[in-house]
Symmetry: C2
Subunit: 360 residues, 2 copies
C-alpha cells in the first residue's frame, strides 16, 4: 500500500497553524519517499462548536473511522470555557476517544540533548531520561457511572465512579508489556492499592498479565503519590510506566514537563484495531494563536508516530524524526524552546515547518 | 494553661528514633520556656498490628481524643505490605483521620536556603518557593461508597466512589481561605472540572465561599494535570493550594519533592475542634531503621506546628523553628540532606536531636 487517507483535525488556537506547518513537512516526506497521503480536514473542539454546535460531530467521527489514521492538532480556548460541559471542546475529545475505542495513550517523555537546558531540572538529573508513559484512556473516573450532582439530605453531592474491569486492565497491561519488551524491559505500574479497591484489582491483573505473558519484562509497582515524587527525584529509574486514566493524566503531564520541552512532545492514542489518533501533548495556546509563534515540532513528531504505529512506515517515521533533530542541530528555535543567549536562531511556526521540509 | 497532655505515636521504621530525638528537643524547649508537656506514647501502624492485631486500636483513639494534641512519627514497612488491607498500617492512619475528624491537612513546601542545593530543580526556579498545600483529608475516593470488587457479567470489576458534599467542600475552602488571607492572599483551587461532576461542584462551592467570605483572597482555579506541570515549570506562582484528598495526596508529595528536603517537611492534620495530629511528610524508611541515620527535623518542625496550631504557643513554635535553622546554619547534616563536598558535618539522628536541644 502506498496511498493512505488521513483525517486532519486542526481544532482550535494554534491548531490550524501547526497543522499547516505539519502538512508542509509531510508533503516533502511523501515526495521524497514516493507514497501518498490524502489529507482531509474535519471539525473538532471549539471550531466544531462554532460551526455545528457539537464538539465532535457524527460526520467527523465517521470520517475518522473510515480513514487509515487521524492527526489531531489541539483543542480548547477561553471562549468556550463557560459553556455547559457537553458543549465544551474537551467533551469532543473524550467522545472521540470513547467512540473510536482508543484505550491506550502512549506518551514518550524523552530528553532531547539539544533542548536539555530548557528544563527546570538540573542537567545531571534529566540527561538520558527516556520514559514511555502508557495511560489507559477510555475508562476510570473519566467515564465511570453512576455520576452526577444530586441533592442528598438537603445538600448537593457530586460524584464520579472510579471503576475498572478486568478486561480493561488486561488489555492496557498487554499494550504496556509489549512496549516494555521492545524497549528497556522495565515496566512500572502505578496505583493507589494501599487505599483503593479499584487499584487492588489493577495491581492484581497487571501482575497476572505481565508475569504470565511477558516473562522478559521486569515488573514493579509504585503508589501514585510516590511516583509524583520519584519523577522529580530520579526520573532515570523509569522505562515504561502504565497507569489508569486519571493518574496517567497527571503523571504524563508531570513527566513531559520534566524534559523541558512540552512543545516537542508527541502522543499516540490507539485501540484494538482501526485508526489511531496522533496528537501533540501541548494545548491550544490561545494566547499566541495566529501570531506565527507556535512550535509545530510536536505535531510533526506525532505524524512520525502515526507513520510508525498506524501506517507501518517505520523508515519514514525515522526520516521525519531525524529531520526534526537536524533542524534543532542547525539552531532553529521557536520562542517556547529558545533560551536567552543560546546562540540559536528564533523562527516562527511557518519557517520551522519549512526548515523540516528543507532537510527532508 | 502551662501544662499539656500530648499523645506520641512513634509508629514504625525510623519512627521510634525520630520520636526520641524530638523528645530531647521538646524537653529542652519546656525547660527553657517554663511549660510542661506530658508525653504519653500509644500504638499505631505496624507496631500496633504486631502488638494487638489492629493498626489503630480503640485505646489509642481514646487516648488521642483525650489529649491536647497528637504527635505522630511515621508508619508502614515491607513487613506488613502483604497483609489484607484492614491489617495494614495505612488503614490505621486512615481510621485515625476519619475518627478524629481531621478533614484538613496542611503541608507547607518551603525552600530552606541552607538546603536549596539538595533539590533536583535549578536554584533560580526554587529560590523563595513557599507553598502551603491544603488537602482535604476525610472525603473523596478515599472514603467514598459504594466501593469494592464485584463480579459483573462474569468478570471482576473494582470501583471506588469519588464523592464530595457541599458541606465537605465548604469547610475545607474556609480553612484554605483563612490561611491564604493570613499569608500571601492567593489561593489556587485544584480540580478536574472539565471532566468530573464532583470537580464541578468543588469549583462552584469553593468559588462561592471565597468570593463571599474571603474578599481579600485572590482565587484562581487550575486543572490537576496542569498543576502537576506548573509546580515544576514555575513553582513560585503558588501561595496556597487547596485540593481534594487524592489530588492533594499526589500534588503535595510532588511539591515537597521540589524543595529538595522531604526529610525536613512537617504537616498538620486538623479538624473542626479537638486535638490535631502533627507528623512529618516523609515515610518510615524501613531500610535505615535503627541505624541512627534518620533525620528528626521534620518531626521537630511538626512539633512546632503543634505548638502553633493546637497549643496556641506561637512563640515557642518560633523558637523551635529558629533552633532548626540554627542547627543547619552550624552545618549539621543527616545523610538525607548531606551533599558531597558541602563542607558540612554528617551527624546521626541522636546527635541532630541533641544539637537542636543545645541551641535552645
Ligand atoms: C482536555 C482533557 C479532557 C484531557 C484529559 O484529561 O484527558 C487532557 O488533559 C489530556 O490529557 O489529553
Ligand atoms: C499511606 C497513605 C494511606 C497516605 C495517604 O494516601 O493519605 C499517605 O500517602 C499520606 O499522604 O499521608
Amino acid at each position: 500500500k502506498d496511498s493512505y487517507s488521513i483525517t486532519l483535525l486542526p481544532g482550535d488556537g494554534i491548531g490550524p497553524e501547526i497543522t499547516a506547518a505539519t502538512k508542509v513537512a509531510l508533503t516533502a516526506l511523501c515526495e521524497k519517499s514516493g507514497f501518498t497521503l490524502e489529507l482531509k480536514e474535519a471539525l473538532i473542539g471549539g471550531a466544531a462548536i462554532d460551526a455545528v454546535n457539537d464538539p465532535f460531530p457524527e460526520e467527523s467521527l465517521q470520517q475518522c473511522l473510515s480513514s487509515d489514521s487521524v492527526l489531531l492538532a489541539c483543542i480548547g480556548g477561553y471562549k468556550w470555557d463557560n459553556n455547559p460541559r457537553e458543549l465544551r471542546p474537551e467533551s469532543g475529545l473524550l467522545k472521540m476517544r470513547k467512540e473510536m475505542g482508543l484505550f491506550a495513550n502512549l506518551r514518550p517523555a524523552k530528553v532531547l540533548p539539544q533542548l536539555m537546558d530548557a528544563s527546570t531540572l538540573k542537567r545531571e538529573i534529566i540527561e538520558g531520561v527516556d520514559i514511555m508513559c502508557v495511560r489507559e484512556l477510555t475508562g476510570d473516573v473519566y467515564f465511570g457511572t453512576p455520576k452526577g450532582i444530586d441533592v442528598i439530605d438537603g445538600q448537593r453531592v457530586g460524584y464520579n465512579n472510579m471503576i475498572y474491569s478486568e478486561m480493561e486492565i488486561d488489555r492496557i497491561a498487554r499494550v504496556a508489556g509489549d512496549i516494555a519488551a521492545k524497549r528497556g524491559g522495565k515496566l512500572c505500574s502505578i496505583d493507589k492499592a494501599n487505599v483503593l479497591d479499584v487499584s487492588q484489582l489493577w495491581r492484581e491483573v497487571v501482575t497476572d498479565v505481565i508475569t504470565k505473558d511477558f516473562p522478559s519484562v521486569e515488573l514493579s509497582h509504585m503508589y501514585v503519590d510516590n511516583c509524583a515524587m520519584q519523577l522529580i527525584r530520579y526520573p532515570k529509574q523509569f522505562d515504561v510506566i502504565v497507569c489508569g486514566n486519571i493518574f496517567g493524566d497527571i503523571l504524563s503531564d508531570e513527566a513531559s514537563m520534566l524534559v523541558g520541552s512540552l512543545g516537542m512532545l508527541p502522543s499516540a492514542s490507539i485501540g484494538e484495531s482501526g485508526p489511531g489518533v496522533f496528537e501533540p501533548c501541548h494545548g491550544s495556546a490561545p494566547d499566541i494563536a495566529g501570531d506565527d509563534k507556535a512550535n509545530p515540532l510536536a505535531m510533526i513528531l506525532s505524524a512520525a508516530m502515526m507513520l510508525k504505529y498506524d501506517l507501518d512506515r517505520p523508515e519514514e517515521a525515522k526520516m521525519l524524526e531525524d529531520a526534526v533533530e537536524a533542524v534543532l542541530d542547525k539552531g532553529f528555535r521557536t520562542p517556547d524552546i529558545k533560551i536567552e543567549d543560546d546562540g540559536c536562531q528564533l523562527v516562527g511556526c511557518v519557517a520551522m515547518g519549512e526548515a523540516v521540509a528543507e532537510v527532508i
